[in-house]
Assembly symmetry: none
Homo-oligomer: 210 residues x 4
């Protein structure tokens, strides 16, 4: 009961920390409050985690591991590009439904310039961006996608998803509900128009002569 699965108290602490971090931000959140929220003593937190930093890193890592696995599965799925993008969208919006606070926390602390945070976090973001970039490059090669700058487009794509996600997570109003309901399909459609190679007959004169 204590030798295998994640100890019950550790779960409580992660749960509590996610909530308090998401509510106040990492730096303003205090160990006292996390301990109270988790209904354990402060000392207990230090049995399971080395420091406050460490809690956030473990939260990050778990999330990252899951996303990594998701992308790994996608990579080896052989699905067509369009389908893959659809899956990425679904994953993002499913996560919100599963744990809104965790998503908020990640959005908030993603850019915190703490070195250790950046090490675990940027690595994922870069990895994902690179994956999408490759996907696009490949898609262009296969003529499934229209020609474009894959680097820029990959980031733009992720940013679009993230921003829509943010709006739904940060506020909790009517619009958020609309977004959660309609965004996955709406974005899928948009992205296809954006990326698709389809019937784009005459693109002449599209460049600018600045």
């Amino acid at each position: 009961m204590s030798g295998e699965a994640i100890p019950k108290k550790k779960e409580w602490i992660i749960e509590a920390a996610t909530q308090v971090f998401a509510e106040k931000g990492f730096h303003v959140a205090g160990m006292r409050e996390i301990a109270e929220q988790a209904k354990v003593a402060i000392g207990t937190i230090y049995h399971y985690f080395q420091s406050k930093e460490d809690i956030l890193i473990q939260i990050f890592r778990e999330e990252i591991e899951q996303r990594r696995q998701f992308f790994e599965g996608l990579r080896t799925s052989g699905l067509p590009i369009r389908e893959q993008i659809q899956r990425i969208l679904e994953m993002h919006f499913d996560r919100i439904k599963g744990n809104r606070r965790l998503v908020k926390l990640i959005l908030m602390e993603r850019l915190e310039p703490n070195e250790r945070f950046q090490k675990v976090f940027r690595s994922l973001y870069e990895e994902v961006a690179r994956y999408i970039e490759e996907l696009i490059t490949e898609g262009i090669a296969k003529k499934e996608l229209a020609p474009c700058n894959p680097l820029i487009t990959a980031h733009a794509l992720l940013g679009a998803i993230e921003a829509v996600t943010s709006r739904a997570v940060l506020y909790n109003d009517e619009k958020a509900a609309v977004i959660l309901r309609e965004a996955p399909q709406e974005l899928a459609r948009s992205f296809w128009r954006w990326l698709g190679a389809v019937p784009q007959p005459a693109l002449g004169g599209e460049g600018r002569s600045s």
Copy 2:
């Protein structure tokens, strides 16, 4: 030169604070370091600002005021939608060139859950998003744009810009240089494919002669 406009020292402090905040984050940045960076005494900072919070808020406010004016100008410009989006893109990337650190700071602290920060910051973001939303709605009515969900699309559009911006600001590698060079045009093209009314066989005259 010291009797009317913003006092020289206040400028120094804003400069220094922008740098230190962008480097370490608002909470980790210390007044001591800001004072040293600005080459003034700590007390001097409190002569011009009420608190550490107040420094960030004033930095935010100035930036917000500029953006608000930009959007106000855009609103009354009567420019076609496509042109307006082009202008928004240009503005974003110009700001990076003008003050990379300020842009980084804003990206970083935009979501800090401090109430006072949110009050000044979210208001702008909402305002801008609403403006784009209206723009899209109007564009659809005029058949200049394809039908879509304007709320979601507005956020997605801003997110795309922001993410590409982030990538260019947060890192300082070769890719960042590429992005800064090519992103404005690339995104303009993308957005048009994304938003443009599809059955528009004759796209002639699409270039701008600015």
Copy 3:
């Protein structure tokens, strides 16, 4: 011995704070010095007290509680007025012998215009003054005391005690010793001449056989 009553360290802190406050005054006294005097870390003080203010208030409150109980006991004692005044005098001078520093502190900070201090302190002073006033009024009604203005007399009585007390506490010279030795009886005699119903030819049995 450390699991139930007032923690040992809290006692140390109160002891140290009383000393440092009495020596330098509340505002000049520093937390650092109190902590050093109490041989605890500064943080420890904040474990037991909410603020510097709070230390003084707790010191005040304990003293006030004791005095209040003393006066409550007196009120229900049914002792003759003369005896009650005698007891009040004894109490005052006993307190000096018990904790000279505490008495000095109270004399010094009694008038500090801090709102929270006033709330706890003036309430007691008013209460005591009112009690003496009632005592005098009653004594006049019973013809045990000569007619006088009870309000003014009550304050004058307390002030006389306090001033003599002050002299003994603030300095530590030969005169102080004389005062401590003789003042209780001297003041008792004085007060009786002052207050006693004049045409009281037979004052026999005036001595106490306590």
Copy 4:
């Protein structure tokens, strides 16, 4: 206009400082507030006074000088003791009417353990007490007063005056008005009963055999 009388601005500053000190206490009062209240710049204060301490000391000194002169006049007046005490009472209550704030300030800061304050302040108090003591001793010798301990009685007398004064100055309620109106006569009567050698026929058994 600048070589003789007290400069106008210095007066303003003393006025303002008296008010602010009396309101908040010496330590909490700030030079900024005094300057604002006096409608001068902070720097101006330092033209007339060496420090914040110095302002209070000058306020003290002026008051002390006046009282010293009063007592000097009394000493050489040759008035009977009873009359002298009457005059002391009158002086005290007149001062309240003349400058309530100054009286409050003196009551408040009289015990502040700052060395320089004590030097100027205790000297006066001791001097006055000693004067009254001598007066009483002399009165006893002349059989104008009943025998008593002059040291203790002198302090008790002053304390009584001071306490009644305090009550009238610190609060500003109906009772204060009553006190201001009636206290001088009431106290005069009381003191005479207290001290007078008059018809105190049988005082036998007045001592306590404790």
